[in-house]
């Protein structure tokens, strides 16, 4: 479809804001989340965790725990399948330590008992002999001389000689020749930036209920962003065939990336297998913070060359991401993403993954991008001020558009960055005068977005209502979006469609709810599944009329004769055709399976005003506007929800949130009181502007919106605090003492 044609598409249901179908269950407390199911004879699990950041495990003595009344099973590493490689090995090593505890909170053993209290008591009776080893938790220390080497064996072929052994991956991309580019520059700025690890902070801790039976089959209920992935991983770690384990996704209480992997699910399965009873496991908050993945901490070095007129001549970045004791930090992401919004001739971007004695990092919304953009968008801001150029104009001057070859390699198709910048500039927010101690920040962000494997099926009932089955947990209202797209294609009311998240035994494979993929990919599959049903409906109508199926078209809920030779017949509604379906050829269902690959890139521009209290250094966000290209907003409320939620998580990352490790290598802030996420009274309303530059790769033009929303805010807030405080803020979080100190000393120190 031509771009203009796509932009002018008219819709009946798409773009409206109906009530979500799981709304009543969720406002009445009836919706079942991970911890909300029970089974007769169910046991409760608990986990024994290392108090050491790094220690050799000499002996685990479970005899006393086993002797406690009510204890039914204990598992350790030996109870899991061996011979796993790659990702599966990595996950097993993280969820159950082998010979070494690699971080504070690393699991060593698990217990199933008849009550949660007995399970907890029994965990205290497990005697572990440790030989503490030297540890390191800070990213700078980890790659300095004298740091203990976390794992010799994980150093990969792509790290050249001469790098510290705790650097386990190196990625480089770019274009042109940066030396040439810097040679053409009138102004060069180079700075280092640091961000701390932050947790995704979903309110629902990990929870599951496993029931394995002696015939090697099993059922698992769990909170996850992807139950097919849980199925695959658990089956591998149990040594059973994937299809023998049926996994049902509960309602999910937030994930933001970190529920794309598994922690307790295989452990509950192993306990259940051993005890031959159902086992429920629920993490507490402290376990969530200590042992499930936070996002990486980072140290970035960014250098940009610019002409007096604001043209970027060269950009160079080194992004070091700390990913815990596992070679998993997404350091290639900032290397590819940070300067992707700009048309730059000479760029050189390096990503380095760093090992420390911390928990294995997990994906968090656009993994790796926000911390890199914190660096790059601040350098651009500083240069705009230095050259006396409006920060939005500076970005417009260099903005990538259709035909620009990104620094990460590909040449863009139609993208909406410029539209977001122009809308931000025109927004009333941008011209509100600032008062004393206030500053305004601007930042742009890019995220790839993702398609991924998808199966969808729809079933028509004789009364003309439709059951749609999807395999991606609904984390933010996606049932509503799917029902809207189905309604649009079928031409029946939104209310006539019921959307269910199917279990692994009822629907074919689906990738996780991640990568901003659901509205795009599952939406595309929903559209195609419904189209396959309307084709069949047209065929049935053709039979009724005695004409060629090709002479029938589906329009707004009716089969209509079309074309010159079709003849004249009264259109048949979906309801009429459904009522007769069993007599006209049998049930009518639609399905679609594919790995759609044409997710359109997402761009956003954020505007924020911050007031800094000169006496305390406390920063308060007083105004925030998110401008983002959604391609086409299917249910605008939930698009805005993604924009607002991402912005606020970014505000928390910028101002409050951080992992604090003690000298002993233990996490100091393991409750929400000390790990402080933004609360309602910290914030203003978050204004949203949805830009719609349709994605040519989706029938309705959808682009993902879940992840791009968290890419700019760290930098946007830092630019605002820098302006308000008069000091370039190079370190997160910008906590009151740090900002106050920076104002006294004229620069950020530690």
């Amino acid at each position: 479809m031509a771009f203009d044609q796509q932009k002018d598409q008219q819709f009946k249901y798409i773009g409206t804001r109906p009530k979500r179908q799981d709304g009543i269950d969720k406002v009445t407390g009836q919706a079942k989340y991970g911890a909300d199911t029970y089974q007769a004879g169910m046991l409760h699990g608990s986990i024994v965790r290392s108090p050491h950041a790094h220690a050799r495990i000499l002996k685990i003595d479970t005899s006393e725990a086993e002797a406690l009344d009510g204890v039914k099973a204990i598992v350790t590493r030996a109870d899991f399948a061996t011979g796993l490689t790659g990702e599966n090995w990595n996950i097993l090593e993280n969820i159950m330590a082998d010979k070494r505890a690699l971080y504070d909170g690393h699991a060593l053993a698990a217990i199933a008992a008849t009550s949660p209290l007995i399970a907890r008591d029994a965990a205290k009776l497990v005697k572990v002999e440790y030989e503490p080893l030297p540890h390191v938790t800070d990213i700078v220390d980890a790659i300095s001389g004298g740091a203990p080497i976390i794992r010799e064996s994980s150093i990969e072929a792509n790290v050249p000689e001469g790098y510290h052994k705790n650097i386990c991956r190196r990625f480089e991309c770019g274009k042109g020749d940066v030396e040439v580019g810097f040679g053409e520059a009138d102004l060069i700025v180079e700075r280092d930036f640091f961000t701390e690890a932050t947790h995704q902070g979903y309110i629902e801790p990990h929870a599951c209920l496993a029931h394995m039976t002696p015939d090697g089959k099993g059922e698992l209920w769990c909170t996850t962003q992807g139950h097919y992935n849980v199925q695959r991983i658990c089956a591998a770690l149990l040594g059973i065939e994937t299809s023998q384990l049926k996994v049902t996704a509960s309602e999910i209480g937030g994930g933001f990336g970190a529920k794309t992997t598994v922690f307790i699910d295989p452990v509950a399965c192993a306990l259940s297998r051993k005890a031959n009873r159902p086992v429920k496991m629920v993490m507490n908050r402290s376990e969530v913070l200590r042992a499930t993945g936070p996002a990486s901490s980072s140290w970035s070095t960014v250098k940009v060359g610019m002409k007096k007129d604001g043209t970027i001549t060269a950009a160079q970045g080194t992004y070091r991401l700390q990913g815990g004791a596992f070679p998993s930090a997404p350091s290639e992401s900032p290397a590819q993403v940070t300067f992707a919004p700009y048309d730059i001739e000479h760029a050189e971007m390096v990503g380095l993954s760093v090992l420390t004695n911390r928990p294995k990092q997990a994906a968090y919304r656009a993994p790796g991008a926000p911390m890199g953009v914190f660096a790059s968008e601040q350098v651009l801001d500083e240069m705009a001020h230095e050259l006396g150029i409006d920060p939005i104009d500076l970005r417009l001057k260099n903005a990538a558009k259709e035909g620009t070859k990104g620094v990460h390699g590909p040449t863009y198709k139609r993208i909406g960055l410029i539209e977001t910048l122009e809308a931000a500039k025109a927004h009333p927010h941008y011209s509100i005068p600032l008062k004393e101690n206030q500053g305004r920040g601007v930042a742009c962000g890019f995220w790839f977005n993702f398609g991924g494997s998808t199966s969808v099926s729809m079933a028509l009932s004789e009364d003309g209502s439709v059951a749609l089955s999807i395999g991606t947990p609904d984390i933010g209202g996606s049932r509503a979006s799917m029902a809207l797209m189905a309604a649009e294609v079928l031409g029946i009311p939104y209310e006539d469609i019921r959307v269910t998240i199917a279990d692994t035994a009822s629907l074919g494979y689906n990738d996780n709810t991640h990568g901003s993929r659901v509205t795009y990919a599952v939406g595309l599959a929903t559209i195609e599944a419904c189209k396959s049903a309307t084709q069949e409906l047209c065929k049935r109508a053709a039979g009724e009329w005695g004409i060629d199926p090709e002479a029938v078209e589906w329009e707004d809920g009716y089969a209509r004769p079309s074309g010159p030779n079709a003849g004249s017949f009264e259109p048949l509604s979906l309801k009429q055709l459904a009522a007769k379906m069993t007599q006209t050829g049998g049930p009518i269902n639609g399905h679609f399976e594919a790995s759609p690959q044409t997710a359109g890139p997402g761009f956003a521009t954020h505007l924020v005003d911050v007031e800094v209290d000169p006496e305390t250094g406390k920063s308060t966000v007083i105004r925030y506007t998110v401008v983002m290209d959604a391609g086409k907003a299917i249910h605008p409320d939930y698009v805005e929800g993604q924009m607002q939620g991402g912005a606020v998580q970014g505000i928390g990352w910028a101002l409050n949130e951080e992992y604090v490790y003690g000298e002993d290598g233990r996490l100091q802030n393991t409750v929400f009181l000390d790990y402080r996420v933004p609360v309602a009274s910290d914030l203003p309303m978050i204004d949203c502007v949805i830009i719609e530059v349709p994605n040519p790769g989706h029938p309705f033009g959808v682009r993902g919106v879940g992840e791009t929303s968290i890419v700019p805010p760290l930098a946007a807030v830092a630019n605002a605090v820098s302006a308000a405080s008069g000091v370039r803020q190079t370190r997160l979080p910008m906590s009151p003492p740090r900002v106050l100190k920076s104002m006294k000393e004229g620069k950020v120190v530690g």
Partner: protein, 81 residues
């Protein structure tokens, strides 16, 4: 013929070349041809790569056809949250 653009840190495994020209009709053939030409690339390709063809990033597809004269960029496997 397909001109495959490598990410910079792969160049040392491809005799310093930024662009490797191979005979291939789709992604599977293209990856196989790269490994045949430069065996040092195998470990990276096995770990998972994405391929951008004319600006569209194919996260893990092997079957996508590569049109004549297309811009083809080898990328690290996309990851999402």
């Amino acid at each position: 013929m397909v001109e495959v653009q490598l990410w910079a840190s792969l160049q040392s495994y491809a005799e310093g070349q930024k662009v490797v020209t191979v005979e291939a009709r789709n992604i599977r053939e293209m990856l196989a041809a790269l490994v045949a030409r430069h065996p040092g690339l195998k470990v990276f390709i096995d770990e998972g790569v994405s391929v951008a063809i004319n600006g569209e990033i194919y996260a893990d597809s092997l079957v996508e056809p590569i049109p004549e004269g297309a811009e083809v960029v080898l990328m690290q496997r996309l990851r999402g949250g």
